[in-house]
C-alpha cells in the first residue's frame, strides 16, 4: 500500500501526492493518522476530506492508504449505541479522551471482545444463499439480531455450524467451499444494500400524531420531509416520531445540530417506554450524533452511515425508521467541502450534484422483499432547515422532488404556539390513496370520509377568513359562521397536539377517529339547529362544545367522550 505526502492543508480539505487510492477510499492523514476520505482525484493529486480537526497538519506529512472505502461495522451490539458520523461510539471516545473529543482515536463501531450467544437456525447440509439468516442472537430483551450470510456472497452448503458464545469475529459456520461466516459484516456506507424488490407502500406508519396519521400519513417504507424555519418544531417532531412510531428499530441521525438536543434524547430514551412493548425506547434505538461543532466531513458521512445501519436491520425483516435532523446541514457540509475543492458552484453555492445526492439518499428508503426472505422497510423522515424559512431554496426544492410526504411547518402557527405547526393547507401525502383501504379495514369505514370532510371545512375556513379580514365575522351568513366555529374546533381540539403533554403526546388511531367524529357530529347538530331557526350565539355556547376541548388530554377518554356526546345531544335538544 502506498504512502503519499501532504501537499496542502486548508480547513478540512487536504491535498496529497503519491497515492494510488481510489475515489472514496479511506486514507490516514498526517503523523496522527487522521481518518479521511478521498473525494477527488486530478492528475497526480488526491483531494481528501479529513473527518477530524486538521490543526497542526503540515505539508510533507505522510498519507497512508487503507485500500478500502469507509465502511459501517454491522453486527450485534449496535442497538442502544450512540455514534459520531463515522460510527465511532461516543461513550468509548469519552473513555479514551475525556469530555472533549480529541482526534486521532480509532474505535470500532461494534465491540470485538464481547461474546454473544449464537443460536443457529440452519443445520449442516442446508443450502444457504446471500442474505439468508443462519442464526440468531438475542441482542435486546425483545429484539433478535439475525446473523445473515452477507449480501453479494455466493452462499453454499453448510459444512459446519456451531452454537454457543462467540465474539463477532469468531467463526460460527463454515460452508462446503471453505468460506467462514462470522457475526460481522462490513459495508461501504455510500452503497445501498441490495434487496430483491421494492414493494408498494400500503401500510401506514402509525405516529400517534393526529395531523399526520389523520391528514398526511406516512407509509412504512415511505419518505417524508419536514421543512421549517428555526424554532418551528422540526426536532420535536422527529423526536416525537422516534418515540411513538410503530416500527421495530429507530435510527436517529443528529446531523449538524445541537449537543444539548442529543443530551436530551439520551436522557429521555432510556426512561421512556415503548407503548408497543413496554420496554425502554432506547433498546430499539441507535443514535448518530455529529453535532454542528463536530468535524464537517464526518457530518457529511453521518447520513450514509445511518442509512447503512438502517438497511442492515431492514435486511433482518424489521421495520426501521430513520430520522435525519437536519438534511440541510448535510447539504451544507457538501457545499463547504465542495467550495474548498474550488468546484464550480451551482445554485446558492451548492455543488451541482446536490439533487443527485439527495435523490440517491431517499431512494435507499422503501419497503422491500429482503434477500433472506420476508419483508422489511426503511422509512425516512428528513428535516430541512431553509435559510430565512424560505421554501424556494435549493435543498427544500430538491428534497420535495424526491419525497412523497411534505409536512410544511408554518412559523405563523408557531408564534401562536399551535403545535405541531404543520400547515394543513400546504402539506400533502402522496400515499393518501394507497393507504385508504388500510384505514377502512383496520380502523373505521368512515376514516377517509371524515378526513375529507374535515379538510373541506378547513379549506372553506381559509377562504372565509379572507373575507372576515375585510368585513368582520358577524357580517357572514350564519352557516358560514358555524363553519368558522367548527374549523376552530378542528384546529384547536384536534390538529393541535402537545408533544409535552404526558397523554396527548401520543394518540391512538381509535381516539383520533372518535375525536374528529365528535367535532363533525357537533357540526351536524349545528346545521340542523340553524335550520330550526336557532341563533349562532346559542349554538356556539352549548357547554358540551367546550367540554370536548379537553377530552384529548385524558388517557381513559372513552367514558368522558360518551358523557360529553350525550350532553351535546341534550344541549341541542334543549335549544329553542
Amino acid at each position: 500500500m502506498e504512502v503519499g505526502k501532504v501537499k496542502r492543508v486548508a480547513g478540512p480539505v487536504v491535498q496529497a501526492t503519491g497515492l494510488k487510492a481510489s475515489m472514496y477510499d479511506l486514507v490516514l492523514v498526517g503523523e496522527e493518522g487522521l481518518m479521511s476520505e478521498v473525494i477527488g482525484i486530478s492528475g497526480n493529486k488526491h483531494v481528501i476530506q479529513v473527518y477530524e480537526d486538521t490543526g497542526g497538519v503540515k505539508p510533507g506529512e505522510p498519507v497512508k492508504e487503507t485500500g478500502a472505502p469507509l465502511v459501517a461495522q454491522l453486527g450485534p451490539g449496535i442497538l442502544t449505541s450512540i455514534y459520531d458520523g463515522i460510527q465511532r461510539p461516543l461513550t468509548k471516545l469519552a473513555e479514551a479522551s475525556g469530555d472533549f473529543i480529541s482526534r486521532g482515536l480509532f474505535v470500532d463501531g461494534v465491540d470485538h471482545k464481547k461474546k454473544w450467544e449464537f443460536k443457529p437456525i440452519v443445520k449442516k447440509g442446508d443450502t444457504v444463499k446471500a442474505g439468508q439468516t443462519i442464526g440468531e442472537v438475542q441482542e435486546q430483551l425483545l429484539i433478535k439480531h439475525k446473523i445473515m450470510v452477507p449480501p453479494r456472497s455466493k452462499g453454499g452448503t453448510i459444512k459446519e455450524i456451531y452454537s454457543g458464545n462467540f465474539t463477532v469475529d469468531e467463526t460460527v459456520a463454515v460452508l462446503e467451499d471453505g468460506t467462514k461466516l462470522n457475526m460481522l459484516q462490513k459495508w461501504p456506507v455510500r452503497q445501498a444494500r441490495p434487496t430483491i424488490k421494492k414493494l408498494a407502500p400500503t401500510i401506514p406508519l402509525r405516529t400517534g400524531q393526529r395531523v399526520i396519521d389523520g391528514f398526511f400519513s406516512l407509509a412504512k417504507g415511505g419518505t417524508a420531509a419536514i421543512p421549517g424555519g428555526f424554532g418551528t418544531g422540526k426536532t420535536v417532531m422527529q423526536q416525537t416520531l422516534s418515540k411513538w412510531a410503530d416500527v421495530d428499530i429507530v435510527v436517529y441521525v443528529g446531523c449538524g445540530e445541537r449537543g444539548n438536543e442529543m443530551a436530551d434524547l439520551l436522557h429521555e430514551f432510556p426512561e421512556l417506554v415503548d407503548p408497543r412493548t413496554g420496554r425502554p425506547l432506547m433498546e430499539r434505538s441507535i443514535v448518530f450524533a455529529n453535532t454542528s461543532n463536530m468535524p464537517v466531513a464526518a457530518r457529511e458521512a453521518s447520513i450514509y452511515t445511518g442509512m447503512t445501519v438502517s438497511e442492515y436491520y431492514r435486511d433482518m425483516g424489521y421495520d426501521v425508521m430513520m430520522t435525519a435532523d437536519s438534511t440541510s446541514r448535510w447539504a451544507e457540509a457538501m457545499r463547504e467541502l465542495a467550495s474548498r475543492l474550488e468546484e464550480m458552484p451551482g445554485e446558492e453555492g451548492y455543488p451541482a450534484y446536490l439533487g443527485a445526492r439527495l435523490a440517491d439518499f431517499y431512494e435507499r428508503a422503501g419497503r422491500a422483499d429482503v434477500l433472506g426472505g420476508g419483508q422489511g422497510s426503511v422509512s425516512v423522515v428528513g428535516a430541512v432547515s431553509p435559510p430565512g424559512g424560505d421554501f424556494t431554496e435549493p435543498v427544500t426544492q430538491n428534497t420535495l422532488r424526491m419525497v412523497k410526504v411534505f409536512w410544511a411547518l408554518d412559523s405563523k402557527l408557531t408564534q401562536r404556539r399551535h403545535f405541531p405547526s404543520i400547515n394543513w393547507l400546504d402539506s400533502y401525502s402522496l400515499y393518501d390513496k394507497d393507504l385508504e383501504p388500510w384505514f377502512v379495514e383496520n380502523v373505521n369505514p368512515d376514516w377517509n370520509k371524515n378526513k375529507r370532510r374535515a379538510m373541506a371545512i378547513l379549506q372553506e375556513n381559509a377562504e372565509l377568513e379572507e373575507i372576515v379580514m375585510l368585513v368582520g365575522s358577524d357580517a357572514l351568513p350564519e352557516d358560514q359562521q358555524i363553519t368558522l366555529e367548527v374549523a376552530r374546533m378542528i384546529i384547536n381540539f384536534w390538529l393541535a397536539q402537545s408533544a409535552m403533554h404526558p397523554v396527548d403526546t401520543f394518540c391512538p388511531y381509535k381516539k383520533q377517529f372518535e375525536l374528529l367524529a365528535a367535532i363533525l357530529k357537533y357540526r351536524d347538530y349545528a346545521v340542523e339547529a340553524l335550520q330550526k331557526g336557532i341563533s349562532v350565539e346559542q349554538i356556539k355556547s352549548v357547554p358540551s362544545k367546550d367540554a370536548l376541548a379537553k377530552v384529548r388530554l385524558e388517557a381513559e377518554y372513552e367514558p368522558i367522550l360518551q358523557k360529553v356526546m350525550a350532553q351535546m345531544d341534550a344541549d341541542f335538544k334543549g335549544l329553542k
Binding site: 490543526g55 469530555d99 428555526f230 424554532g231 449538524g256 449537543g259 401562536r416
Partner: protein, 461 residues
C-alpha cells in the same frame, strides 16, 4: 528556534502570503515583527510553497520585509484563577494597566467539541426576574439564549438586567460573568463596565474589549478567548459562568471580510458558506458536563441588520442557539420596557426547567394560554383597524383587550424590578381571569381549580 522569514510576497486586507522553506502546520500561531511591534496571526492555508496568514492586529504597518516567525504551536490562552476581575483586550492582552496573566495552564482556543454523550441535560431554572423570560421563555442553566435586537433598542439594558438579577432558586453558588465586546462603541462598553462596577459584578467578571476602532480581524479571536476562559472557570474551577457577548453581527462582518479577502465562493448575501459551522463552534461551547459542577450559559447579543430576522446572521444563529429573545421596535415605541415580543421569542429548554419541582406545575399551561391569546389579540388588532372594534364579536373584543393588558402588565416592568416566578405566574393568572373560564382551553381543570384567582383559597392543599 524556529526560523524567521522575510519573504512576505503579498499583503491583502487582513491577510499576508508568505513563502517559506520548512513545513508549516495548519492553524499554527504566527508572530510578525515590524519595527518594535509584535503582531499575531494564524495559518489559514498551508502548502509546499506558500502560507496564507490572517493577522489579528491588522496588517497596518506591515511591509514585505516584516519578519515572520512560525511558532509550531496553535494559539493558546494563558489562564489562572487571577484572571477573574481583569479587563483584557479583544486579543487577550491586559487593558486595565495590570500585569500579564501568569498562566497556571495554557489552553488552545479553538475549542474541542464537547462529546455529546458527556453532556448533562440542562434543567436548572434560572430566575431573571423578567416576566417575558421567566414566565414564557424560561432560561435554564447551560443554555445559549441570544438576544436579537435592532440598532437603537435597549438590548444592553435587558442584558444587564439579566446579568444583575439572574439566580438559581434557593442556592448560593460561585459564579462569574464574562463579557466580550466585539466592535461596540466605547460608550456602550462603558455602560456595561459602569453597571458591573455599580453592582460589584466586576470583581467576578472577566472582560474582553474589542471596540469599534480596534482591528476588525481581532474580533475573530475575542469570543474564542472568552469561551476558553469560560470553560476554564466552569470545568476547572467549578464556577457557573454567564457569558455575554456583543455584538455578534460585528463578529460575522469580520468573518465576511476574511472570506472576501481570500476570494472564497460566498454563500448567502456574501457571508462565507461555513458561517453556520463557525458560529456553531462558538455557541456550542455552552452547556454542562456530567460529573462537573460548573456550567456555561451564553447570552449573545446581535443586532439584526434592517430589523430583518431572515438575515443570515440572526437566521443561522437561531438555527444553532436554544431559542431567542426578540427585542421589538414596535413595543419600544409604545414605551414598553423590556420591549420583548414573546411571539417570535422562544426558549427551547424551557420545558426541562419548569413545572413541578422546578417552578410550578401549571407553568407550561399558563404560558401556552397566554401565548395563544396574545397572538390572537395581535391578529385582531389588524382586523379591528379595518372593520372597527364594534364589528368584532364579544369574544374577539375580550381577546383584543387581553392583548393590550398583557403588554401593559405582564411585559412591562421596571428596569430594576425583580419579579419572582410566582409573581409572574400570578400576573398571568390575573390576566386570564378576565376571560371566561370556558376560554381557558389549554389549561387542565385541576390547575384552574387550584390557581385561578376565582378559586383562590378554596382549593384543597
Amino acid at each position: 528556534m524556529t526560523k524567521e522569514y522575510k519573504t512576505i510576497t503579498e499583503i491583502k486586507g487582513p491577510l499576508i502570503f508568505v513563502e517559506k522553506t520548512e513545513p508549516v502546520g495548519y492553524n499554527e500561531l504566527v508572530e510578525i515583527r515590524t519595527g518594535g511591534e509584535l503582531k499575531r496571526g494564524q495559518v489559514l492555508d498551508t502548502s509546499d510553497e506558500i502560507v496564507v496568514v490572517q493577522v489579528f492586529e491588522g496588517t497596518g504597518g506591515l511591509s514585505k520585509d516584516s519578519a515572520v516567525r512560525f511558532t509550531g504551536d496553535v494559539i493558546k490562552m494563558p489562564l489562572s484563577p487571577s484572571i477573574v476581575g481583569r479587563v483584557l483586550s479583544g486579543s487577550g492582552r491586559p487593558r486595565d494597566g495590570g500585569p500579564e496573566i501568569v498562566p497556571e495552564v495554557m489552553r488552545g482556543i479553538a475549542g474541542a467539541a464537547i462529546n455529546p454523550a458527556s453532556r448533562e441535560k440542562p434543567r436548572a431554572f434560572i430566575q431573571t426576574g423578567i416576566s417575558t423570560i421567566d414566565g414564557t421563555n424560561t432560561l435554564v442553566r447551560g443554555q445559549k439564549l441570544p438576544i436579537f435586537s435592532g440598532a437603537g433598542l435597549p438590548h444592553n439594558d435587558v442584558a444587564l438586567q439579566i446579568a444583575r438579577q439572574a439566580k438559581a432558586l434557593g442556592e448560593a453558588e460561585s459564579f462569574a460573568v464574562i463579557f466580550c465586546a466585539m466592535g461596540i462603541t466605547n460608550e456602550e462598553a462603558q455602560h456595561f463596565l459602569a453597571d458591573f462596577e455599580r453592582t460589584g459584578a466586576l470583581e467576578r467578571a472577566v472582560v474582553f474589549l474589542n471596540l469599534a476602532d480596534d482591528p476588525a480581524v481581532e474580533r475573530i479571536l475575542t469570543p474564542r478567548l472568552g469561551l476558553t476562559t469560560a470553560e476554564y472557570l466552569a470545568f476547572d474551577l467549578d464556577m457557573h459562568v454567564l457569558i455575554i457577548y456583543t455584538d455578534m453581527t460585528n463578529y460575522c462582518e469580520s468573518l465576511r471580510q476574511m472570506g472576501a479577502a481570500r476570494e472564497e465562493v460566498p454563500g448567502r448575501r456574501g457571508y462565507p458558506g461555513y458561517m453556520y459551522t463557525d458560529l456553531a463552534i462558538q455557541y456550542e461551547r455552552a452547556g454542562i458536563i456530567r460529573g462537573k459542577k460548573g456550567s456555561i450559559t451564553q447570552f449573545p447579543i446581535l443586532t439584526m441588520p434592517g430589523d430583518d430576522i431572515t438575515h443570515p446572521i440572526p437566521d443561522l444563529s437561531g438555527y444553532i442557539t436554544e431559542g431567542q429573545i426578540i427585542v421589538s421596535r414596535e413595543l419600544h415605541r409604545k414605551g414598553i420596557y423590556p420591549p420583548i415580543d414573546i411571539r417570535p421569542s422562544l426558549s427551547r429548554l424551557m420545558n426541562s426547567g419548569i413545572g413541578k419541582g422546578h417552578t410550578r406545575e401549571d407553568h407550561r399551561a399558563v404560558s401556552d394560554q397566554l401565548y395563544a391569546y396574545y397572538a390572537e389579540g395581535n391578529d385582531l388588532r389588524g382586523l379591528a383597524a379595518i372593520v372597527g372594534k364594534e364589528a368584532l364579536s364579544e369574544r374577539d373584543k375580550l381577546v383584543l383587550e387581553f392583548a393590550d393588558k398583557f403588554e401593559k402588565k405582564f411585559v412591562n416592568q421596571g428596569r430594576d424590578e425583580d419579579r419572582s416566578i410566582f409573581e409572574t405566574l400570578q400576573i398571568g393568572w390575573e390576566l386570564l381571569a378576565d376571560l371566561p373560564e370556558s376560554m381557558l382551553t389549554r389549561i387542565d381543570d385541576k390547575y384552574i381549580k387550584q390557581y385561578h384567582p376565582k378559586y383562590a383559597g378554596t382549593a384543597k392543599k
